[in-house]
């Protein structure tokens, strides 16, 4: 498989009056063509900012301060805004968390999906042709009676249908990479299952790579080939999905998996992680998880935390030095 995306030592900081929030602080990972990568972490771990950095959509007062994002061999960070605009929505597209807020309420959905296609069509757009494409896309994502509904407005659709429309919009230009940021968090579990199945199907149909950003380990297990676990702006463990679920190495990954209440088995007492995630302005020295880690030793405070690598598996933890 060939490399699609390479992120190296990405740092995205937010410059606030009370200090600098190091939302993403040295993140590296790869994504191959056709592969699905899950980025998992709790709120504030930096997973969404990582995605926005790749899209170059980091909101003020945030800024990418260091690192490299290589997409199909090109360094995205050195592109002009015009060049970047040509990539967004065409080569990389994004699906956001809340389908209720990501569609424009005053335009009908056919127009909105059509706009995404028109923007990336060379030459003069021919609306009848675009309309045909819109219909086939919306049919492809499972909107019933598309011809009748194409001029309906977002509020006339349910949450699940809106997310289907968003997904349709994101695949309308056959992107190489779809970034899905918590695409099902606002939806019920039976609708979530439908959306995940749709993503799986589209991935096979178009061969797009998927970057799934989520707090839900179950969804990653369901859809992804590789996983990156983030904690406090850093990737603490990264590698093949089967290996990491079978034998998680980082204490945070281990505990995170143990504290999920499972439907398929009983436990007397759930594992929990004591304490709370660190303050992003002044995170602890060394391994940022050490104040909550049951195995923490003095040397976990050192600045250069050991990174263990074995083939595709990466763990940043002193236990494996």
């Amino acid at each position: 498989m060939s490399r699609l995306l390479e992120v190296r030592d990405l740092k995205t900081y937010f410059f606030l009056r009370k200090g600098v929030v190091k939302a993403v602080d040295g993140v590296s990972f790869d994504l191959d063509k056709g592969e699905a990568l899950g980025i998992v972490g709790e709120s504030g771990s930096g997973k969404t900012v990582t995605a926005l950095s790749i899209m170059r959509l980091v909101p003020y007062p945030g800024r990418i301060v260091d690192g490299e994002i290589k997409f199909k061999g090109r360094d995205l960070l050195s592109l002009s805004e015009d060049e970047m605009r040509k990539i967004r929505g065409k080569e990389i597209s994004m699906i956001f968390q809340d389908p209720h807020n990501s569609l424009n309420p005053v335009y009908n959905v056919g127009w909105q999906v059509g706009e995404a296609i028109e923007l990336h069509t060379e030459g003069k757009p021919i609306w009848s042709r675009i309309l045909d494409k819109v219909i086939s896309i919306l049919r492809g994502v499972g909107i019933p009676k598309v011809e009748e509904r194409i001029y309906d407005y977002p509020h006339q659709f349910s949450g699940g249908q809106k997310q289907r429309i968003m997904i349709g919009m994101s695949v309308s230009n056959n992107p190489d990479l779809i970034i899905a940021d918590e695409p099902t968090t606002a939806l019920d579990v039976t609708i979530q299952a439908q959306i995940i199945d749709l993503l799986k199907e589209l991935r096979h149909r178009y061969g797009s790579s998927i970057m799934l950003i989520t707090h839900n380990m179950g969804l990653v297990a369901e859809l992804c080939d590789r996983i990156a676990v983030m904690y406090s702006g850093k990737v603490v463990e990264y590698g093949d999905i089967n290996r990491i679920f079978e034998e998680p190495l980082h204490p945070y990954t281990q505990l995170l998996l143990e504290c999920i209440p499972r439907t398929d088995r009983d436990v007397d007492r759930l594992m929990s992680i004591p304490g709370e995630p660190p303050d992003p302005i002044s995170p602890p020295r060394g391994c940022r998880f050490h104040p909550r880690c049951p195995y923490a030793k003095d040397w976990c405070r050192r600045d250069d935390i050991y990174v263990y690598r074995d083939n595709d598996h990466m763990v940043s933890c002193e236990l494996y030095r």
Binding site: V189, T190, C259, I260, P261
Partner: protein, 321 residues
């Protein structure tokens, strides 16, 4: 029966919408004929998707919404038609914990006042409120030093602990917990669930635990009631219902939950469609338009919730003569 703390009989909660000089109002049938009881020391889990009516059931018991019809008795007393004096004595015995700890605590009150407010409302005067508040804080894993702080100085998990302390202040007969961990990260969720479980064992609490997360219900509840479109479709001991669901809806709900392990990927048997319109629910069984086993009778006759054995109930024509 003496050991029944709550008994709910044919509860209906309709919300009026629209209606004016010339048009008739429409009724949203949020809860449409629900019956169950909770014994002393028992935790009943109420599970369902958004719009299934589970929160309205909780609110009706807590006295926040007035039922359209039906009976709710707590400790054998009808609590819908109480005189003011009786309400003052009985209501404090039912306490509620809400989903969002960021909006359920008054930002202008100090923690010490928040926690004992229910006691003051109940008319209790001759105790040292500060000592009582400190005791309660200790019980939920916070300490005396937090007494004089304001809610914004706490994290989500800590705020939920404060909300639990407030709910415990009156030694309630019944606690209604409405998605108490849905707004929290999974590592914090585990802390709160463990706290609730400990308190329940220590204080012999009786609880109605409302959640959309079947894993959480399996962990915390003894029995579970599954709601769909305003009705209970299945009720029984949690292991029976979750390990061997009888109702096709329960079955599909369980199948839709992603298990956090890649070897347990879901088979592609998801239910199509979406929950019905609560103003105009389908005739017969409300699940029939989505049900893979629907029979002719399901379209016309509403199935009754009947006993399968002495602890298990299901409302489905597949199990009725």
């Amino acid at each position: 029966m003496e050991n029944k703390v709550v008994e709910v009989e044919d509860l209906k909660v309709y919300y009026e919408r629209g209606g004016g000089l010339l048009s008739k109002p429409m009724y949203i049938k949020a809860v449409d004929g629900v019956s169950f009881s909770i014994s002393r020391g028992e935790v009943l889990g109420l599970v369902g998707e958004s719009g299934s009516g589970k929160t309205s059931v909780g609110k009706a018991i807590a006295g926040i919404v007035r039922p359209t019809s039906g009976k709710i008795s707590v400790l054998g007393r009808d609590i819908i038609n109480l005189s003011r004096g009786e309400a003052r004595r009985l209501r404090p015995k039912i306490q509620m914990i809400f989903q969002n700890p960021f909006s359920s605590l008054d930002p202008r009150m100090r923690v010490r006042d928040i926690i004992v407010e229910p006691l003051k409302i109940a008319g209790i005067k001759d105790i040292d409120f500060r000592v009582k508040a400190a005791e309660l804080l200790e019980m939920v894993g916070l300490s005396e030093e937090h007494l004089d702080r304001f809610p914004h100085q706490f994290s989500g998990g800590q705020r939920q602990r404060i909300a639990i302390a407030r709910a415990l202040s009156t030694n309630p007969e019944l606690i209604i917990a409405d998605e108490p961990t849905s707004a929290l990260d999974v590592s914090i969720q585990a802390q709160i669930l463990n706290l609730l479980k400990e308190l329940r064992d220590k204080l012999d609490l009786t609880m109605l635990f409302i959640s959309h997360d079947i894993g959480v219900i399996r962990y915390i509840a003894d029995r579970v009631a599954v709601m769909y479109a305003g009705k209970i479709v299945e009720l029984g001991n949690k292991r029976d219902v979750i390990d061997e669901p009888l109702h096709p809806y329960t079955e599909s709900l369980l199948e839709a939950v992603p298990v956090p392990h890649p070897s347990k990927r879901r088979k592609e048997t998801i239910i199509p469609g979406e929950p019905p319109d609560p103003i105009n629910p389908p005739s017969g069984c409300r699940f029939h338009p989505r049900c893979p086993h629907a029979l002719d009778i399901c379209r016309t006759v509403e199935p009754k919730l009947i006993y399968m054995d002495n602890s298990r109930m299901v409302a489905c024509h597949l199990y009725q003569d």
